[in-house]
């Protein structure tokens, strides 16, 4: 006797609720996998039930086959749904205990010295204006450091800079200004350079270190003037210290520039008022101004030393102390900290 198609169909159809019941018990992906094998595997319950199809009355087979296919896709659906449900639950469970505040696996914190930071910032400003950056020797001849800069031996101007000597005619450069001489000897105008570097003076106390850093600037061209010197330095100071900074030029004296000037910026601590809440300002000593750089028109005598025609060319130069700018910019009170290299100091400048 042929098996009853109705019995077979009901057997196949009942697989769906049974499977759902089993899945309800399953609490892990492997248990779901076991259920999948039990129902949909090669020797699973659907396969077993379907093996009965062959014995059915051929007329009943299509209907039973259709039902079997439906059940198969239904089983696949419920298994997948349960699996997805469980996977999602597992994921959120695992990250519930995730601690995002644990330290990262960071490399050592590197840092650049504040002198380097300021030097690069200033050089970048002048590079943007079209200046080249040049460097030169720190052990320098007396001729480049003094004589060619219009500072003859036994001139009182030599007192302005206490000098370290290596030998009678060789010094540790007292300023970056010999780079003016070297630049003008090396190239014909037009010239526009800045020269950063270390300089040395025989002076050591609270406000002086025997080595410090300067940046020299020089522009030589056929038509330039004090007005352009003022324009460039005013722009550079505002870029460096902020657009609101007030700037004043005060006549001064340097043997290698004439006219010469010193540039003051308004004190950033007291905003140029000279006092903070009634107490005298310690940064500008109540003047409201802070001296920031020296500058001037290249002295015609200097052109004589480097073979440039002073009637055809004019030029201007400036020199600025890097530590001084760094102290103002970052609010560093003690100059000597720059050369102690305490990691707690260095670490404040990334």
């Amino acid at each position: 006797m042929a098996p009853d198609a109705a019995v077979l169909i009901s057997e196949i159809t009942s697989l769906v609720p049974e499977c759902e019941a089993s899945l309800g018990q399953a609490s892990s992906l492997s248990e779901i996998e076991a259920v999948r094998v039990a129902y949909l595997g090669r020797k699973g319950r659907l396969a077993q039930a379907m093996s009965g199809l062959a014995g059915l009355d051929p007329a009943a087979r299509p209907e039973a086959g259709r039902v079997a296919n439906e059940v198969k896709s239904r089983l696949t659906e419920v298994l997948d749904a349960r699996q997805a449900e469980l996977a999602k639950a597992g994921e959120s469970g695992a990250f519930a205990r995730f601690d995002p505040t644990l330290p990262g696996r960071a490399p050592w914190p590197g840092s650049l010295h504040p002198v380097t930071l300021v030097m690069e910032e200033i050089c970048a400003i002048f590079k943007g204006l079209g200046f080249d950056i040049v460097t030169g020797p720190e052990v320098e001849t007396d001729w480049h450091n003094f004589e060619a800069l219009n500072i003859p031996p036994d001139h009182p101007a030599r007192d302005m800079q206490d000098t370290f000597y290596v030998s009678g005619q060789v010094v540790l450069r007292t300023h970056t200004s010999p780079m003016q001489v070297r630049t003008m000897l090396a190239k014909k105008p037009p010239l526009a350079v800045v020269a950063p570097g270390k300089v040395y003076r025989r002076d050591s106390d609270l406000t002086h270190t025997p080595m410090f850093h300067q940046i020299e600037g020089l522009l030589v061209d056929e038509k330039t003037s004090m007005a352009e010197l003022r324009g460039v330095l005013t722009a550079a100071c505002r870029q460096l210290f902020g657009p609101e900074t007030n700037i004043r030029f005060r006549p001064s004296f340097f043997p290698f520039t004439e006219p010469s000037a010193e540039v003051d910026i308004s004190c950033s601590l007291c905003q140029g008022r000279g006092a903070v809440d009634g107490t005298p300002c310690r940064v500008c000593k109540q003047s409201g101004w802070i001296e920031i750089l020296g500058c001037g028109m290249v002295d015609p005598n200097v052109y004589g030393f480097v073979g440039i025609d002073p009637e055809r060319y004019r030029g201007w130069a400036f020199g600025l102390g890097v530590e001084r700018v760094a102290m103002l910019k970052y609010g560093i009170g003690d100059l000597r900290m720059f050369f102690e290299n305490d990691a707690r100091f260095l670490g404040q400048f990334a």
Binding site: G130, V166, V170, S260, E340, A343
Partner: protein
């Protein structure tokens, strides 16, 4: 230069505030550093009237006074012998702090209450007199301030003069600037010179050996002086500008120096051996005892004043002890001379004798003004000391002063300053400065510089004056068109490359340090870094007497600093020059830009999630390798170097066979000197070579492989003579085309065993096809066999 406001007002009727004056002077280039009150320390002292004065019942030497100070009457116990009823005295009330730091407090002296102190001149720092209390003019009003009662200066400007402004080293000089700046009239000091007795020129004759060294020497005789204390006005004025009063004659010379800028010297004429005053250089080795009692050994570059036989003064610097004015001096030989500035400067500097006189002498004097100054000083000495000025001036002037004539082109001034200038303004400014002008209607003017402006030498000096008086700060601003030659080939080791290296180091976790370029010879001895040092001839200390030949001492010192702060874990770098003797070169020094790296202590910055481990060779080497990779340098070779002075192990690093530097562990004995707790790993690398080798290097792109690689591992048992890098080198030498890469993937050494197992991963690849196992096995087997022949290794 200290400028007393009251003194200044004798020459120019400035009525504005002292602050406005300071501001204007600063903007004229005479920078006012500070405005001070020279007598601020006795600000609180009042005029008192002694209204009762009795002997203290328990002490003979004390008086019980009642002193009216205007607002109240104070009980004051006074110990001075000269205190008396009715006197006007200087009273320091309770709370006042006197110049010596003494704070006046309420006191009980032998049972009597005292509410203040009656002061002596010394207690007020007005003189050395402490014989009794200071007794004031009876007309002074009780309760008024002593400062006002004595007419003491209340404002002194401290002017920081630039070396070119010698003309402003006097009140007259500053007054000239004030007169010009504010449009005020200037008046010279007025005095009436009366001469009597035998003409000076009959008693004194001047001889000058070399007119270059002494263009002008003048002498006047003042006879019959009585040396004593100067009057109060003179002493107070000198005190106000920081000059200690000495005696009437000497004070008068100092006074004229501060007034007119001309230094003068008073000799005791009776101590001079003859009437011949000779100005001549010292013979080498001459010894002269100066006013300060020091015996000075002189050289031929020192200029000396002789009395015909003996040296009597070091010209322009200091007088001699033998002819010094003393309390019994009667006749004065007054010197007023102009000496060669360079000569004075050399002497003052060599003997470390900076003085107000030398300061002015070495900056240059007004030779025409000197003739006015000698009369002014002689008159003042006579007035203060009761002496008589002899007629005439003994004078020698081998080089009379010639006024300089300069050209001035208003057009040139406009070009330099970059602004239009009114011709009238230029003319008025130059005239205001004391210049004579000719040809003002033309393009080129002829300008005669005043005798006090020795700094007017060239046209540009006049341009500066015009700009300065106009106001450098008022010149308009403009921006230049920077023209540059774009074909310039830049030096290899330029600022940009240095900057790139520093930024690499920061990214690699190193902190930048900057140390002084000089170290102590001891620092280099410790490292036995001997050869080619450059010494500083005049160091500040023995710790800074030589330029560093290596960067190590600085970084080791920084390690010590941080260890002592409780921060022993450091990763540091410094990029700076080292200096090496290079005889025959322009400066005698070869400067080598060098990079030093130092690691000490923990390998990782934070303890979690890293394991706590100490940094070792691999950390340092990794940094060096990364640097080589970053700057596209040729592959680095690392070789052990025996017997290095301060590194062990020491590893020489080379690039393409050229020495790049050294790295290794600082010997514990050296590291210990710098308080190291752990191994110190340090590298020093030559950036000149880096710059040369990285210049122009462009990455050469290779197409990505299309076929898969096949990898085979190979473990070799290697004896102690085999270094890891020998294996890839030996394999590379075989030239096997299918081999793409050899990498070390494991090193294993059993405790106590000298042999190590080195495991390498060999990667094979064919460019045109997928390799079969069989093909790879054949090649791999051949390589292994050849390795056994090439190196003392065994297969595991």
């Amino acid at each position: 230069m200290k400028v007393s406001l009251g003194w200044l007002r004798e020459f120019v009727p400035y009525e504005g505030t002292v602050e406005a004056l300071a501001d204007r002077l600063t903007m004229l280039g005479l920078e006012v550093d500070a405005i001070t009150q020279p007598f601020a320390a006795i600000e609180a002292v009042l005029v008192g009237h002694v209204v009762a004065c009795e002997r203290h019942p328990q002490a003979d030497k004390l008086s019980l006074c009642r002193v009216d100070v205007g607002s109240e009457v104070l009980d004051i116990v006074c110990g001075a012998p000269n205190v008396a009823l009715g006197q006007k005295v200087a009273v320091a009330p309770i709370g006042a702090v006197l110049p010596g730091g003494l704070e006046i407090k309420k006191a009980k002296i032998r049972g009597a209450a005292s509410q203040g102190m009656i002061c002596s001149e010394r207690e007020l720092a007005l003189s050395e007199d402490h014989s009794g209390i200071m007794v004031l003019d009876p007309a002074r009003k009780p309760g008024s301030k002593l400062l006002e009662a004595l007419g003491l200066e209340t404002a002194v400007l401290d002017v920081d003069l630039t070396p070119n402004r010698a003309d402003c080293l006097s009140h007259l000089g500053v007054a000239r600037e004030v007169a010009m700046a504010f449009g005020l009239p200037l008046s010279l000091p007025k005095f009436g010179l009366t001469e009597s007795g035998v003409d000076c020129r009959e008693a004194v004759r001047i001889e000058i050996a070399d007119g270059k060294l002494c263009p002008l020497y003048q002498a006047r005789l003042i006879r019959g002086v009585t040396v004593g204390q100067s009057p109060a006005w003179m002493r107070y004025r000198l005190l106000a500008v920081g000059q200690r009063p000495i005696s009437n004659v000497v004070d008068a010379t100092n006074y004229v120096m501060f007034e007119l800028g001309q230094p003068l010297h008073a000799f005791d004429a009776d101590k001079m051996k003859s009437g011949v005053v000779r100005v001549a250089p010292a013979p080498e080795g001459l010894v002269l005892t100066t006013l300060d009692g020091q015996a000075r050994k002189l050289t031929a570059s020192d200029l000396v004043i002789w009395d015909g036989e003996e040296p009597v003064a070091l010209a322009g610097v200091m007088g001699g002890a033998g002819t010094e004015m003393d309390a019994g001096s009667v006749n004065v030989l007054l010197e007023c001379a102009v000496f060669n500035p360079g000569t004075i400067r050399k002497t003052a500097k060599r003997l470390a004798l900076p003085s107000e006189a030398a300061h002015r002498m070495e900056r240059g004097l007004d030779q025409i003004g000197a003739k006015f100054a000698v009369d002014r000083a002689a008159t003042l000495i006579a007035e203060l000391s009761g002496g008589r000025v002899a007629p005439g001036v003994a004078l020698a002037e081998p080089r009379p002063f010639a006024l300089r004539t300069l050209r001035f082109r208003p057009g040139y001034a406009q070009d330099v300053l970059g602004m239009p200038l009114e011709r009238e303004f230029c003319a008025a400014t130059l005239k205001g400065l004391g210049c004579g002008l000719k040809g003002e209607s033309g393009r080129e003017w002829s300008v005669v510089a005043p005798s006090w402006r020795l700094d007017f030498e060239r046209e540009i000096d006049l341009v500066e004056e015009v700009g300065r008086v106009y106001g450098i700060d008022k010149i308009p601003t403009a921006l230049p068109q920077v023209t540059r030659d774009l074909t310039v080939v830049k030096a290899a080791l330029n600022f940009e490359l240095v900057s790139d290296i520093k930024h690499w180091a920061r990214g690699a976790g190193l902190r930048e340090c900057i140390n002084y370029s000089f170290v102590g010879e001891r620092d280099l001895e410790l490292l036995s870094e001997g050869a080619g040092r450059i010494k500083v001839a005049n160091p500040l200390s023995e710790e800074q007497n030589v330029l560093r030949t290596v960067l190590a001492p600085g970084l080791l010192q920084n390690l010590r600093t941080n260890v002592s702060q409780g921060l022993p874990d450091v990763h540091l770098f410094e990029l700076a020059k080292t200096f090496h003797a290079a005889p025959g070169s322009e400066t005698g020094a070869r400067e080598v830009t060098t990079l030093a790296l130092l690691v000490h202590g923990a390998r990782f910055a934070v303890p979690y999630p890293w394991a706590r481990e100490d940094a070792d060779y691999s950390d340092l080497k990794g940094l060096v390798e990364d640097l080589v990779r970053r700057f596209s340098l040729p592959p680095a070779a690392f070789a052990l170097e025996e017997d290095h002075a301060w590194l062990t192990p020491c590893v020489a690093v080379s690039l393409g066979g050229r020495p790049f530097g050294r790295m290794g562990r600082v010997k514990p004995a050296v590291a210990g000197e710098y308080k190291a707790r752990k191994d110190v790993w340090l590298a020093e690398l030559d950036l000149e070579l880096l710059a040369e080798l990285s210049a122009g290097r462009v990455p050469a792109f290779r197409d990505l492989p299309k076929f898969p690689p096949v990898r085979r591992d190979l473990t070799l048992v290697a004896g102690p003579g085999v270094q890891a890098a020998m294996v890839p080198a030996a394999v590379a030498a075989m030239g096997e085309k299918l081999l793409e890469d050899v990498s070390l993937i494991d090193v294993y050494a059993q405790d106590g065993q000298e042999e190590r197992n080195l495991t390498f991963r060999l990667t094979y690849r064919h460019a045109q096809k997928t390799l079969t196992d069989k093909e790879v096995d054949k090649v791999h087997g051949a390589i292994a066999t050849r390795l056994l022949a090439a190196l003392p290794v065994k297969l595991q």
